[in-house]
């Protein structure tokens, strides 16, 4: 075992692979952060749509969630990879394909979290705001969602960690994230055990610190 291979390629692995600055279009963080934000925003809409009273809003949202929760993410990535160029008649870079796939896929999971969060807000809150003369939209935005968000934090962070880990699958279609960077280095150095163990530790540091921060946040707001 010879971990000097990690030291000599540290810059490529971390700066190119994790952060995304370098000759390749890549970076785990550059993919994960927009995917988390956009996936959550789309998830809010899907979660609320699942709670809608009108069936023509509720049923499509339910089908969306059930479909994407029953299909592997790898499959969704391949779908986007083949379909979007067909539709737009344009070559789409790996970054766009991966981001689209993650947002669409994870929105189904975020939607379920949002739905559970909104349902956890006591019904009296809605009744009280209606009594105060607020419209349904204002009730949702100013009364229900802020309280629901606080209840959602643990599940949301878990899902963010899952998404962060899932971004490694973007390397299948050639996006140079941390995993792909390790593959590239390994092709030259042939030190798989050391390299993949190092990558595992880097992922672990990122996800574990997310979990610790979430725990601290929970304690402060609880």
């Amino acid at each position: 075992m010879d971990f000097s291979v990690v030291a000599s390629n540290f810059q490529f692995l971390v700066v190119q692979g994790l952060i995304g600055i370098g000759p390749f279009v890549g970076g785990t963080l550059r993919l994960a952060i927009p995917a988390i934000v956009l996936g959550f925003v789309l998830g809010i809409f899907i979660g609320l749509a699942r709670l809608a009273r009108a069936p023509w809003i509720r049923l499509p949202a339910t089908m969306y969630v059930e479909f994407f929760r029953g299909v592997p993410l790898v499959m969704v990535i391949f779908w986007i990879w083949f379909i979007i160029p067909q539709l737009l008649r344009l070559p789409i870079p790996e970054y766009g394909v991966a981001l689209t796939a993650f947002v669409i896929f994870e929105a189904a999971y975020f939607g379920e979290i949002v739905r559970a969060g909104v349902q956890s807000v006591p019904r009296g809150q809605v009744e009280a705001s209606t009594a105060l003369g607020m419209t349904a939209t204002r009730t949702m935005v100013w009364v229900v969602l802020p309280q629901a968000l606080r209840n959602m934090v643990p599940a949301l962070v878990t899902q963010m960690i899952v998404l962060f880990k899932d971004t490694s699958l973007a390397s299948i279609i050639g996006y140079v994230d941390l995993t792909k960077a390790a593959q590239i280095v390994n092709n030259r150095e042939i030190k798989p055990f050391e390299l993949y163990l190092f990558v595992a530790v880097v992922y672990w540091i990122c996800t574990y610190s997310m979990a610790v921060m979430a725990r601290r946040f929970e304690r402060r707001t609880a």
Binding site: P72, M75, P85, L88, P192
Partner: protein, 267 residues
């Protein structure tokens, strides 16, 4: 029989997408469907063998995951500190790292470190399949352990104290009192975790295990009919997941302990 996808659709090679000759017209689908690629030639055979490999891989990995999950989940609640630490380390490290990294780790990283005889046997018996089982099993074992731990945590502490008072040893208390109840409590989260395992088995295509997603890609490569091939694979996964979820919902109702389970929507 080939069908025209839209008016003005021209039959011809569609993949990779050919650039429009004169001007680009986005959103005009120029794709000829040909569903017969799914049953002509070897496609059907490929899909079937892919499905079988997916099921085998998932079943073996599931057994490993459940064994590891029960072991480490139970160890995390015992009074002995070093055992608890070891189990905690296993769970926190393995479940917080992407499955894909573990696939590469177990496939590329570990076999060269094994003794010669083991290596030879592995390379004769499909090393990628065994690496995928270990990667899936160890990763999901860590996640399963969290499920089991929360199940054990949901059992009142007095049950353990009562078994101690009855003169059972710690091991007996776990085997006879805590685990039988905990296992029933965890049917719903355990099911969704098992379905995650089934879906995650598709990651094994990266180390060239010929499972369902891999075969779907193969059909796509041979026939250049991406949408048909992906539809077939997607429908098979959907059918698998939905039928397992339905069966487990029935099992859950059958084995529910009245009064102990607050029935929640199973995911």
């Amino acid at each position: 029989m080939p069908r025209q996808a839209s008016q003005g659709g021209v039959a011809g090679p569609t993949h990779p997408p050919a650039p429009a000759p004169t001007r680009r017209r986005p959103f005009q689908v120029n794709y000829t469907f040909n569903w017969s690629v799914l049953w002509s030639g070897q496609s059907g055979q490929w899909l079937l063998s892919g499905l079988l490999i997916t099921l085998q891989l998932s079943a073996l990995a599931w057994i490993l995951a459940v064994v590891l999950g029960i072991l480490s989940g139970a160890l995390r609640t015992v009074p002995l500190v070093p055992l608890r630490w070891a189990a905690t380390f296993y769970v926190e490290f393995f479940r917080n790292v992407p499955l894909l990294v573990w696939m590469f780790f177990w496939y590329f990283g570990v076999p060269p470190l094994l003794p010669r005889g083991v290596q030879d046997w592995l390379f004769d018996h499909g090393v990628e399949f065994w690496a995928a089982i270990v990667a899936l099993g160890v990763y999901h074992g860590a996640r399963m352990s969290e499920v089991i731990r929360s199940g054990i945590g949901a059992i009142p502490k007095t049950q353990f104290e009562a078994s101690m008072a009855m003169g059972l040893t710690t091991f007996q208390a776990y085997r006879l009192v805590i685990l039988p109840v905990a296992l029933r409590l965890i049917v719903p989260p355990g099911t969704s975790e098992s379905l995650n395992l089934l879906k995650n088995s598709s990651v094994a295509l990266t180390i060239s295990v010929a499972e369902l997603t891999f075969q779907t890609r193969q059909i796509e490569t041979y026939t250049a009919k991406a949408i048909e091939a992906l539809t077939a694979g997607t429908l098979i996964y959907l059918a698998l997941c939905l039928s397992i979820a339905t069966i487990m919902a029935r099992v859950e109702r059958r084995y529910a302990i009245p009064g102990l389970i607050s029935r929640t929507q199973a995911g």
